[in-house]
Symmetry: C2
Subunit: 354 residues, 2 copies
């Protein structure tokens, strides 16, 4: 093994040992036309011999392309980032980026300071695009996204605006599906624990719930808002039970909250699903750990990440993608079983703009 000196080889050296010009070497390495086979081979040999890897900072400077994208998550509470949701998105994003030579920068921008930092990062041309995750209603990241001259893809839509490019799950359709399922079970006094209503997902899920009830001519008064957490779901459900002791089903807008609901219901002496049927949302890991296991609406989170990344890459390449809404599925498990029926699966209809 020839132990090369600590200095990393440069393109110049590659060109030199290949006996060609730097320009030719560059072309050969980037396979950008006009390179004779002889040159190409010579360069390839030199690259292998020197174990050359191009310096990306230099390339970035020359091409004006950072070769990186950022995924920004703005959550007031770092605790919430622990939600497996984010991990799944990241897995999806990573999988897609692995096919490109873009690198993923992860920025958790919770505080004001974090946000200005994000802005600096973006404006310093360190990234070629931005993915934004899960914005609350008044998230300041919002405005930031507008100011940038970078492609921005949203994961989930912000509350009061339809961004140009986004990937979202069919929250509304999923919620409707869940609620229709409860109705089909014969439940008539169906309550819902919504998520934080400054979130589009929470609003859409409530909407789907209401639509299903409206169609069936049932009333939608049994509603209480929570914050997507188990504790929140627990408290909300206790509230519900106080005010509507007659309820016979609960649709919770997240599995965490559904788990809390389960706890509250058990505590109150009600049996699930016999007295009260419960359906959650997300197909989070916790949904399989409760007893009974939670029926839930599954959203393809990993795919959401994938599609976000894919869309961003498309934008970076200068093409024009179209927004995407991914279908959701109902998974029926123990918490809403009529008898000993097997687990079923239903597809939510895609209702983008309707």
């Amino acid at each position: 093994m020839s132990t090369p000196p600590k200095r990393r080889p440069t393109l110049d050296e590659v060109a030199q040992t290949a006996g060609v010009s730097r320009a030719a070497a560059s072309r050969a390495i980037n396979s950008s036309g006009n390179v004779s086979p002889a040159t190409r081979q010579a360069v390839e040999r030199a690259v292998r011999e020197l174990d050359y890897v191009p310096n990306r900072s230099a390339r970035a400077l020359a091409t004006q392309q950072a070769g990186a994208v950022v995924l920004a998550v703005s959550h007031h509470d770092p605790e919430l980032f622990a939600d497996p949701f984010f991990a799944q998105v990241i897995v999806g994003v990573s999988a897609e980026l692995e096919r490109t030579d873009l690198v993923l920068m992860l920025v958790l921008a919770a505080s004001e300071h974090g946000r200005t930092r994000l802005e600096r990062i973006l404006r310093s041309r360190r990234a070629d695009g931005l993915m934004l995750l899960s914005l609350h209603g008044d998230d300041p990241l919002h405005r930031l996204a507008g100011k940038l001259d970078l492609p921005v893809v949203y994961g989930g839509r912000p509350l009061d605006a339809e961004p140009q490019w986004y990937v979202d799950a069919d929250n509304r359709g999923g919620a409707r599906l869940a609620t229709e399922h409860l109705i089909a079970l014969g439940r008539r006094r169906i309550a819902t624990v919504t998520g934080l209503l400054d979130t589009d997902a929470a609003v859409q899920r409530r909407r789907g719930y209401r639509e299903a009830l409206a169609v069936a001519g049932l009333d939608t008064t049994r509603t209480v808002e929570a914050d997507f957490t188990e504790a929140g779901g627990y408290a909300a459900t206790r509230h519900l039970l106080d005010r509507h002791p007659d309820l016979d089903a609960v649709f919770a807008a997240s599995d965490n909250m559904a788990a809390g609901a389960l706890r509250a219901l058990h505590e109150s002496g009600r049996r699930v699903p016999e007295d009260v049927a419960v359906v959650g949302f997300d197909d989070a890991p916790v949904s399989r750990l409760t007893t009974p296991q939670l029926s839930t609406v599954q959203q393809p989170i990993r795919q959401l990440g994938r599609e976000m990344a894919r869309m961003l890459v498309t934008l970076i390449e200068g093409e024009e993608p179209t927004p995407l809404i991914l279908p959701t599925k109902l998974l029926v498990r123990g918490s809403s079983l009529p008898a000993h029926a097997p687990t079923r699966t239903l597809d939510a209809t895609d209702v983008p703009q309707a």
Copy 2:
């Protein structure tokens, strides 16, 4: 509002509008000595006026510093990345990096392809340092880390090697604490569900368990290996119950597995904690969602992330940090309560090299 042309201002323009040379402007912006107050102010004004943000690619090229670090996670199974553990580490890392101007690159390097990709990233000088998370015994990332001429910090130690710089939790001490607690409860037939034993954490936890039993003169035959998952813990516990129906306590090396253990115990008709006491490890969210809630060993995961980042920054700055082992705590909850005692907390003694 003066709408500047799409082109972003360069240092040259800043210098020009400030009426100084580019060199002076650079010095002013980086506050690297030898700048008169007048110059500084002129430059600051110009920066503000033009809304200038330095181009990081250019700076990276000039300074030979990427201004980024990578956090690499190698998990064969992307499912496992969903473990809140990783999210917590990331939160810690991010929090620490927010104090610097280093940006976090996240690389999920599961496949062979992902690993070569990681290597390319690292060798192309896009990052100034590397954090490696949770390596299994024969993880190829290992060898990679050696080849690099970058500072590398390990989060958790790999199995058969003591890396130069690492941050780890006191797995052994925590396990001992948990086991001693079970012994103090009067349990004598204490089983353990270990984690994957090609992992240092799993080995250390088993070791702590064995030490505690040895000290008490109890036997350590009730051992079965699982894979850190709920399903694995469930299966392992069923196994245990088959072979050792007399067991009166279970120490599971993760909360996920402890949750599985709980399920298996319930299924077998045993009461927890009356018949069998259970203690987990991690203080994962799930530990509060089971009934009864899980006693567990808490490790400061967020702090682990913080310290990893801090250590890496120290290394990048050319200083020499020392490895760190973070203390773990025992949290006693319902699954190992003797009577109606309140939740207690114990500190594990730090036993780095003993």
